[in-house]
Amino acid sequence: MQAKEIYDVLKTEFGDRIISFNDSAAGDPFIEIQSDKILEISLFLRDNESLLFDFLNSITAMDLVDKLAAVYHIYSVSLNHRIVIKLFVPKDNPKVPTVERCWRTADWHEREAWDLMGIEFVGHHNLIRILCPYDWEGHPLRKDYQAPEFYHGIKVN
Amino acid sequence: MENFINGFINNEFITALIISIIPLIFVLLYALIAILGELKISAFMQERLGPMRTGPWGIFQPIAEVVKLLQKEDITPDAVNKPLYNFAPFLMFAASYACFAVIPFSSHFIPASLNLGLFYLLAASSLGVISIVMGGWASNNKYSVLGAMRSASQIVSYELPASICLLTIAALTSTFTFGGLGVSKELMTAVGGTHNGFLAGLDIQHINVAQSGGFWNWFIFGGPGNITKIWVIPFTMGLALIYFIASLAETNRTPFDISEGESEIVAGYFIEYSGMKFAMFYFAEYANMYIVAAIMTILFLGGWTSPFGDYMNGPIWGAFWFVSKAFAVVFMQIWVRWTLPRLRVDQLMNIGWKVLLPLSIVCFLVITLWGVLH
């Protein structure tokens, strides 16, 4: 199924929760949705007979300077089609519902997004840092991140 | 041999000292050879060169390793139980050295010719497990405790099939000694054996003398006897195989090296040891390899007797035959180690209790029945 058709299916099901379909730029098209509806949409994508998106490739957190974005690359092993779901959250209160219930892959990917970009996934059972040390401060992949001078008395850089 | 040395020195104490030092020198020399052998044989099997830099063809490599271990700092971690931690390696080495007291070199040199030699061997070789548990527990390390527990359970369970193998041979020897089969009483008396009933089979001298007269008389081929023994040969060969497998387990060699399983519990019970204490464990491991090989030689391969009957037989040739047979078994152990993967702890117990033990009992029953029928 093409991205546009998937967008149509989602649009009829969720209405204005699905904000837009974007295929203007080079590369892959993506569907933008409202950030608080990601879990319902994920469950629909996974369980709908014609979609069957059973496989989450990755969750990417992005810093767009004025806001943060979470990008979900989803794939269907049985039907062999892909879709990209994108949502935006404000930088001062980046909260997104977790999709851990839908795809277990999301467990570690959400922890990584929290660790490196600071997006808080509400409902995640164990949202702790994964790549950085557990007591690290700040979220290193943000564009305005300043590395600390010292970590436990050891000079950084 | 004792009388021979005593005739020169005329002092019983010094004689005893010399007699006891000869095995020690042998152990040290043997350990060096075995370490080099292990390095070179494994290299050969893996299409490598092995050590080449120390001396021609790398033959001084084990000496270099011993010197290196002597120089190393002897670390005693803070949290260990110091007396036990320090005592364990010495006990380990002492236990394996004690076994050498009854291991013969030829018909005329057995350091201590006990009439219960096999019993003594069983007892002394079991002492090693105490030092393993001691060292593992005293190290105060989770890995070493795991290794010690594994090792203890493993050695205790594999001692049973091994003991049954020993018992079978002891029974067989008693039969031959008193059944008038192949070996005469005069020959027994000539080598100074005592024969008091069943216990005669526990004397290493008797076991070896019973197998004299060519490789066809070895216990691996059913012992001395006429052509009717042919149907017992599968059982004696099976028994030899059972003993070989059990001895691999008793010496913690692959595929039974779970107590020091490198990929699981790093080094097992001696993970905290360094320097000379580590070398003690290391030496004791190689010494144990020789001990089980020597037992295998005594029990199944005719001990010091020549494989060709009277040809190349005698006290000096006896030492040659005994040591070379034992080395052949050591080579087998090294060969197996570099070929097979490692078993898991429960599979190891299964093999010990559910396979080897019943099979060894069957072999015991069949072979002793055969002995009784004669």
């Binding site: 490739n57 | 893996q46 990929s263 097979l340 993967p341």
Partner: protein, 383 residues
């Protein structure tokens, strides 16, 4: 009197103390600096918590400060056992953003080298897996014969481990004249070794009892956890990106997708994951043979690429079937010569996340076998 008071205390005659043990980061068989915190009940594992990140090198942050061609060496260092395979999805993604088509010759060379490196990676995986079970000799045999592959790659690129050979719009330099003959020689050698390894290791009775029925991963769970590559195929799911969504020129070759069939043990156990790798080596040999027969020797290996690579604004998710699974690069371009964001969907990260679920209730020795059969590289997991 009153009714009988119900006692609901559960009496357990044997209750042993559980203890926690740290396996790694310095441990012979954690395949790098992985730390596993294991709770043990005697020898039985009751819980495993992987702590990753000891090899985190901030690769994604670094990429934001480098130009597109400068990123290729970073990509090599992700899964250093299969560096060529890492480069392929990255350069394909950037080429797609730029709208560059590479010539047939380049595509064939890319496929041949990728498949050679796939074999090399699987050889390391099987070797290390054997080492986890205690078999040391097959390890050296496999490393001895991996040398033939490394020599070809060294001859092409000049490096033995981290090649930096696939560039945007082509290759770093042309192949050498005896390339085809060397590849065929290497394949011959690989087949001999594989037959030997099957006898020595894979069909060894001890190896079989050690690996079957350990770390069983059912197919639907594997998909739900995002496992890919031999881990997923070992669970019986015939999913291979080379077949499902053919990239490069993979649709031109005839090869099978190997799955774990459960001929020994259960589908999805460690032995089946491993046999998939052994069979895939043979499939890769088949692909290389076909590619060598079809490959043109003439032609340039570099397309016209602007000196400053500036892809238009846009984003792309470019993925390829790495030896270890699906490796994806999510490249976001803002129109400058440096990417705005590069996210690596690494295979090991998802494949390792399944370990706590499939190692519970087994023994500590099985944990090592399961971990070895997942075939992770910490450079890939931690990035």
């Amino acid at each position: 009197m009153g009714e009988k008071k119900k006692v609901d205390v559960e009496y357990s005659p044997f209750e042993s103390d559980k203890f926690r043990v740290n396996i790694g980061p310095q441990h012979p068989s954690t395949h790098g600096v992985l730390r596993l915190e294991a709770e043990l009940d005697g020898e039985i594992i009751t819980e495993v918590i992987p702590h990753i990140g000891n090899l985190h090198r901030c690769m994604e942050k670094h990429c934001e400060f480098k130009t597109y061609p400068q990123i290729i060496p970073f990509v090599d260092r992700l899964d250093y056992c299969s560096a060529i395979n890492n480069e392929l999805p990255y350069v394909m993604g950037v080429e797609k953003l730029l709208g560059i088509e590479v010539s047939d010759k380049v595509e064939y060379i890319r496929v041949i080298l990728s498949e050679l490196n796939r074999i090399g990676n699987h050889q390391i995986a099987v070797a290390a897996f054997g080492l986890d079970t205690g078999a040391f000799t097959p390890f050296l045999y496999l490393f001895r014969d991996r040398e033939f592959i490394v020599k070809i790659l060294e001859h092409c690129s000049g490096a033995r481990l981290l090649y930096n050979y696939f560039w945007i719009g082509g290759l770093a330099r042309d192949i050498y004249p005896t390339f085809k003959e060397d590849c065929l020689d290497a394949i011959k050698r690989i087949r001999i070794t594989n037959a030997e390894i099957m006898d020595l290791l894979i069909n060894n009775k001890i190896f079989i009892v050690r690996t079957i029925n350990t770390g069983i991963l059912p197919g639907d769970v594997a998909i739900n956890f995002g496992c890919t590559g031999p881990v997923l195929r070992g669970s019986g799911v015939p999913f291979d990106l080379r077949k499902a969504q053919p990239y490069s020129i993979y649709e031109r070759f005839d090869f099978n997708v190997c799955v774990g069939t459960g001929e020994l043990g259960t589908i999805g156990d460690s032995w089946n994951r491993n046999i998939v790798r052994m069979n895939e080596m043979e499939e890769s040999c088949k692909i290389i043979e076909q590619a060598i027969a079809q490959m043109p020797m003439e032609g340039d290996v570099r397309e016209k690429v602007p000196k400053r690579v500036k892809p238009p604004k846009g984003e792309i998710y470019s993925c390829a079937e790495n030896p270890k699974g699906e490796l994806g690069f999510y490249i976001v371009s803002d129109g400058t010569d440096k990417p705005s964001r590069i996210k690596v969907r690494s295979t090991g990260f998802s494949n390792l996340s399944v370990l706590p679920d499939i190692s519970k209730g087994y023994m500590i020795a099985d944990l090592m076998v399961t971990l070895g059969s997942l075939d992770i590289v910490l450079g890939d997991v931690d990035r």
